[in-house]
């Protein structure tokens, strides 16, 4: 199973700083592919520091833990270390007090994927033209929907949409969501910051822009361009891993319609 990887990022049109951080690894840490996107929050340079430290800690733990494969417990341990590191940095430096970050990770090997997330940076699986959210939204309204207190349609434009119930580095404890699944040929896993949605690009449109030709790098750039066309009020970052279709294994080629 061969994977293609691409990523792109842009500060957007209204922000000077880019508070997102991204890691894209191939054949490291006992994995075929590791992609991580973190979206930092906090005043001045704190958001950038938080997301950068979170990505750095997670990747370092996975590189050095001596383990292999997409194991959710492994990702949880790395996430806990990242939480500790960001929390401690915020305690030690008054400028960084209250900083934090979202985190979304996809770890892939041999057709298996482990997903971890904290916060509202989503992970999507695109399969056969359909998009599925494979992370859990830890925004305040999404949490209210899960508790049955408000309806999903009330959550969409909720005033508290950007308030997070879970984050990396804000509290002493962190409670990540994790999942594990199998990948099929042609599947694409996309991690992004909420800047894509904030710009007004729907999940379906993102999928079309990303996957409309075989060029993933160009696809990622098309998503950024579309976000900028729509005003991109927030930083936009996305990272994608796609399982290539092995044409040599296709037993019967479809007949051409003449």
């Amino acid at each position: 199973m061969r994977l293609r990887i691409a990523w792109a990022t842009d500060p957007g049109l209204e922000r000077e700083e880019n508070e997102d951080s991204v890691a894209v690894w191939r054949n490291k840490a006992g994995l075929d592919t590791l992609i991580v996107v973190c979206d930092g929050m906090g005043g001045h340079a704190a958001g950038q520091e938080a997301s950068s430290l979170a990505v750095q800690t997670v990747t370092k733990v996975l590189a050095e833990d001596g383990e292999e494969g997409p194991d959710v417990e492994r990702l949880k341990r790395a996430c806990k270390e990242a939480n500790k590191a960001v929390f401690k940095a915020a305690q030690d430096n008054p400028d960084w007090l209250g900083m934090g970050s979202t985190m979304v990770i996809a770890a892939i090997r041999s057709g298996e994927i482990a997903v971890l997330n904290v916060g509202d940076s989503p992970a999507y699986l695109f399969r056969s033209g359909l998009a599925k959210l494979i992370s859990q939204d830890h925004s305040w309204p999404a949490e209210q929907v899960r508790l049955g207190l408000i309806k999903p349609e009330e959550a969409a434009n909720h005033p508290q949409k950007h308030k997070l119930t879970r984050a990396v580095g804000v509290w002493e404890q962190v409670q990540p969501f994790t999942d594990k699944m199998k990948l099929e040929e042609g599947d694409a896993v996309v991690l992004c910051s909420d800047g894509v949605e904030t710009a007004g690009v729907s999940v379906e449109e993102m999928g079309r822009l990303l996957l409309k030709d075989g060029n993933l790098d160009r696809g990622a750039e098309r998503v950024i361009e579309r976000c900028r066309e729509l005003g991109a009020p927030d930083n936009v970052t996305l990272a994608v891993a796609r399982v290539e279709v092995d044409v040599t294994k296709t037993a019967v080629l479809p007949k051409l319609k003449i």
Binding site: W7, A8, T9, P11, E17, N18, D20, S21, V22, A23, V24, W25, A45, Q48, E49, S51, S52, L53, V55, Q56, T59, N235, T237
Partner: protein
């Protein structure tokens, strides 16, 4: 102030080089590398600060060893590349292209 620049170059003990950022959010900036090394990264305490989500806080260092310039990766998350090849440390030649995060950085020897 060409005279003063010449004087400064005269005082400098060895060869000088230049890094030019060619793409990424900080494209267009040039930085001189001379007797003292240069640190590249996202944190404010670097000599070259790249505002880039794929660049680590302390990403890489440029340094001169005898008459040669070297680039050293400082354990960055996404790695440092010279002409597309991932490196830990590498001697640089005139015209080499470094990749640090989403930035393409051109290395040139001054006077070469």
């Amino acid at each position: 102030m060409p005279a003063r620049q010449q004087q400064a170059a005269g005082v400098a003990a060895g060869p000088q080089s230049e890094l030019t950022i060619e793409s990424g959010p900080d494209a267009g900036h040039s930085h001189r590398v001379g007797d003292h090394g240069l640190r590249i990264g996202r944190s404010p305490d670097n000599d070259i600060i790249l505002r880039d989500p794929a660049t680590s806080g302390h990403h890489a260092r440029l340094e001169r060893r005898a008459d040669q310039f070297w680039v050293v990766d400082l354990g960055s998350t996404n790695g440092t590349f010279v002409n597309g090849e991932s490196i830990q440390e590498k001697q640089l030649n005139h015209g080499d292209r470094l990749t640090v995060g989403q930035n393409s950085v051109h290395f040139s020897l001054i006077g070469a």
